[in-house]
Amino acid sequence: MTFSQQVVTIALCILGTMLPRFLPFLIFWGKGPVPPFVHYLGQALPAAIFGMLIIYCLRNVDLMGQSHGLPEAIAIIVTAVLHRWKGQMLLSIAGGTICYMALVQTVF
């Protein structure tokens, strides 16, 4: 890939990011109050989105593959248990990640 192709690739990443970020505001702003259904979506979406993001992160896990998704499963359990126990976001994230790195580098 040449330098100008890299610049175009990065510019398209910017466009692909900013379009979804700006679109709802461009559509619904300046046209009076937000419709009730859109207001409802605003309340209901956050929980659904975070559930979706977890699956999104795990999309490349192959249950039939060599490790059967075990490192991911174990590290997620470690993350969740740490979080229920201490409730400190960074500790849970760091603990889960270190656990995963140890598993994929030494066990699987």
Binding site: G42, A44, Y56, I93, V104
Partner: protein, 257 residues
């Protein structure tokens, strides 16, 4: 006459002082909320910078990309895009597919960002997952200004991410340890955000809808193309179950507590 003049002058100066005080108080209120993100973004940003470095790019690439894209997951994917043959349409569609979830963020911040002047454009530009979740949920104390609070949360997170990416790009060449599996930090972060959201909500219907719809679509459509169908299915299910789901939320006048 003099009194009147002085009063006007004080008012004018007072206005300026008041406004700078509000900015300071808003920054002071915003900063503590961003402390976990600071550590997280320096860590994640470094992971990204190191990945870029391992792929053979100068530290300027992660630094500038962190500045202008400011969307973690796409930036990780962009590493492999930059290493593959040039494919503009695929790149754009992949970016849209990965970032389409921000449509949902915009929908839920429509009312909160209204009337914030020039700041709103930067707030929308910088609305990554973490900034969104703080601005969406944080309690803004009296004496701080909502717009400036949002602004400083966005700015601080943006700066952390840029610094992390730059440091990773610079230090990548001297860190001697094996970084395989470091990317799991993204998954762990979303698991934690999901648990936080779960704790806060009275009803778990929407969390279940998000997990379930995404899982079903991942199985049906495969790893590359499932995100858009999943978003469609989530919208469909939220429409179908509007009544029971809406009951769990506070009425409009109770919000912001």
């Amino acid at each position: 006459m003099f009194l009147f003049y002085d009063e006007q002058k004080t008012k004018r100066n007072g206005g300026i002082w008041l406004s700078s005080g509000i900015r300071r108080r808003s920054l002071a209120a915003a900063f503590p909320y961003t402390i976990p993100i600071m550590a997280g973004f320096l860590f994640l940003g470094m992971a990204y910078g190191i990945t870029m470095h391992a792929a053979g790019f100068s530290f300027l690439y992660p630094t500038i990309m962190a500045m202008v894209i400011f969307g973690g997951s796409l930036e990780f994917v962009a590493v492999s895009m930059l290493l593959s043959p040039f494919a503009p349409l695929t790149t754009f569609l992949a970016a849209l597919m990965i970032q389409a979830r921000h449509l949902f963020y915009g929908l839920s911040m429509l009312e909160k960002f209204q009337g914030l002047g020039w700041k709103k454009w930067y707030l929308i530009f910088g609305m990554c997952d973490e900034t969104y979740s703080i601005n969406c949920t944080a309690y803004i104390p009296a004496g701080a200004d909502r717009g400036w609070f949002y602004f400083f949360v966005t700015l601080l997170n943006h700066l952390y991410w840029i610094c992390g990416a730059m440091m990773g790009g610079l230090l990548g060449r001297v860190l001697p340890f094996d970084t395989e599996g470091l990317d799991f930090v993204m998954t762990a972060m979303f698991v934690v955000i999901f648990l936080e959201q779960w704790k806060k909500e009275k009803s778990h219907i929407t969390a279940g809808i998000g997990l379930g719809a995404a899982l079903v679509c991942r199985i049906l459509f495969g790893a590359v193309q499932f995100l858009i169908p999943a978003m469609g299915l989530i919208l469909l299910l939220l429409t179908m179950f509007r009544k029971p789901v809406a009951q769990a939320f506070p009425k409009e006048e109770e919000e912001g507590q």
